[in-house]
Symmetry: C2
Subunit: 337 residues, 2 copies
DNA sequence: ATGAAAGCGCTAACAA
DNA sequence: TTGTTAGCGCTTTCAT
């Protein structure tokens, strides 16, 4: 069995409390005593039992991060950022993925997957406001991403509409006139992709360019294959845009593959802009212009927001925190000035 | 404050033990009593405190997975697989990354980042056997990946030498004669990439093809940029292979980008084989032929191995468990039959 | 079938 | 400055 405070205390011939004081770096311990206890600690190889400490303190020092899919580099990179941000506060991160399924998201939000956490950062896709309203878990929750709920939980995102408009504006400035949006979800107005679609429409309208439905490509998901299928479907329908703004980089990459297969050259025939700035976009035959959200900022805001809830305890939250983004220009929108 | 067993017991007018029996689905409880207690549980919204349960049982139900970099899709995908495999056993996964730094790997192996775990799955890069030998942590440890240590910890990997030979054999069968290896680490013979380098050399030798050092490209890391730099360096040195076997897909993708920039066409001028089978390799202008390790199997073996150590307690382990791999042929090695 | 009570390892209030 | 003790919420003998 592992050595406990008691073992150390006996070994050093002092009380448990004294050992605890040394372990917790309590100020008022004589150097001699500290040294003596420390020797016993080293000798016995004592390591504090965090479970016990946490039971006592009511905190575990663990937060959970639940994202749709770790296979999506954006979320993987974001997870890395959250782990780092949490580490700065001596907090460890328990990672979970929901596959973007509503059921899974509900389970996670209820804490059924991990009931040992101080707080939860959730990036929902399908979750509905009612699911959250029904939630009877007192664990602080912070929401991430494009979905917006009118609920007492802090929410962190970039300004998706503004970002989408920036992307579309960039395409317009490059002389593109027929700009498609790839990644709409038609099933619900409240779904993600909604805001980016809105930004696309707004910017086109502002520029006096038509935004017909034929240029809106629906997808079944937000992975490379979905992007490929959506692009193929649009081309098969006889629609031939000279630019594509994709919901995210993965969709953009899938679309670029199909364009390549059809002999359409990026950026000459079709310019492409993605969203997320995943590392993958910096490589390939054609590097990808994209909207780059400040992932570090998002991670930091999320962790700090959670910490705030933990400390404050009382106030409900419900703040909307915004991280910055920028447009990163690469090869996929070069040329054809 | 949260409701505890005691609250429920008082509310239902029974003893704590009875409530505990109901919560834990103990057999010998009268249906009437069960219903009565259940009603109180529902009414008060009781949720068991896992920390307390774990303190009592000595287990937390959490294992940690530490990989070098979540930004590497291979590890992200593997992490997803581990989370799923663990979920089947009602175990949650705490994720950590080490950046492949020895110091971080030591810390993690010592459990300094997360001292609430039942077991640890570690994918080391720089960690040395002595670091592990010095480790004074009784938490079961399972090792993942190419590094091999002669230590009492289970180790899970694919047969890296055989996999590398398969890749090289494939290139030879495609008529390639000057096959480079990209991703050597020259600093130590024990480092990862060693086995794959060995397989490259063995297969070439077996086929009666020279394996000069000029065809071995050293890298500083195993990301896309490292691959790009290594490829550029080799070409700058006047070496012009007609095939490249890369340490992993990321290195291969970086190399392909440089080949593209230099006007060398893949696969016509240079064929490329990667390692890991990350989703990214299925897209891009040229899809990537690669060695595909069975990630699900690796994850399952790792989790089960850990569970075994937890149950058995006693026996030291030290088993070498091997998962399968297969060659996935894509465009990067097509043509030039 | 149900209850009483000890104790997992730790922290914190209080005492000395 | 150091020691004593109660108790965090739970499981688990041992009684009843």
């Amino acid at each position: 069995m592992r050595v406990s405070l008691k073992d150390v205390a006996e070994h050093a011939g002092v009380s448990i409390k004294t050992v605890s004081n040394v372990v917790n770096k309590y100020q008022h311990v004589t150097p001699a005593m500290r040294a003596r206890v420390q020797r016993s600690i080293d000798e016995l190889g004592y390591r504090p039992n965090l479970t016990a400490r946490h039971l006592r303190k009511g905190r575990t020092g663990i937060i959970a991060l639940a994202v749709p899919e770790l296979g999506n580099p954006y979320f993987a990179e974001l997870a890395g950022a959250v782990i780092d941000a949490a580490a700065e506060h001596d907090i460890t991160v328990l990672l979970d993925h929901t596959r973007g399924e509503r059921e899974q998201e509900i389970l996670v939000s209820q804490g059924f997957r991990a009931r040992v956490i101080d707080g939860l950062i959730l990036s929902p896709l399908e979750l509905e406001a009612e699911d959250l309203r029904r939630r009877d878990d007192d664990v602080p929750l912070v929401l991430l991403g494009e979905r917006e709920y009118d609920l007492p939980h802090d929410h962190i995102a970039i300004d998706n509409v503004a970002a989408a408009r920036t992307a579309v504006r960039h395409l317009i400035s490059r002389g593109r006139a027929s700009i498609a949006y790839l990644g709409a979800r038609t099933d619900s107005a409240n779904r993600p992709a909604h805001l980016r679609l809105k930004g696309w429409r707004e910017e086109l309208t502002a520029a006096g360019i038509a935004a017909p439905d034929s240029l809106v490509g629906p997808v079944g998901g937000w992975n490379r294959w979905d992007g490929a299928k959506a692009m193929a479907r649009m081309l098969d329908a006889g629609v031939r845009p000279d630019a594509v703004f994709a919901y995210n980089d993965l969709v953009a990459i899938g679309a670029m593959r199909v364009l390549h297969e059809r002999g359409l050259r990026v950026p000459w025939d079709v310019a492409v802009v993605g969203f997320d700035d995943i590392a993958e976009g910096q490589f390939g035959a054609v590097t990808l212009t994209t909207i780059s959200p400040d992932k570090q900022a998002i991670a930091r805001l999320a962790v700090e927001s959670l910490l705030r809830s933990l400390a404050g305890g009382a106030e409900p939250g419900g703040r909307a925190l915004t991280a910055r983004f920028r447009l990163v220009e690469r090869e996929s929108t070069l040329g054809r000035r």
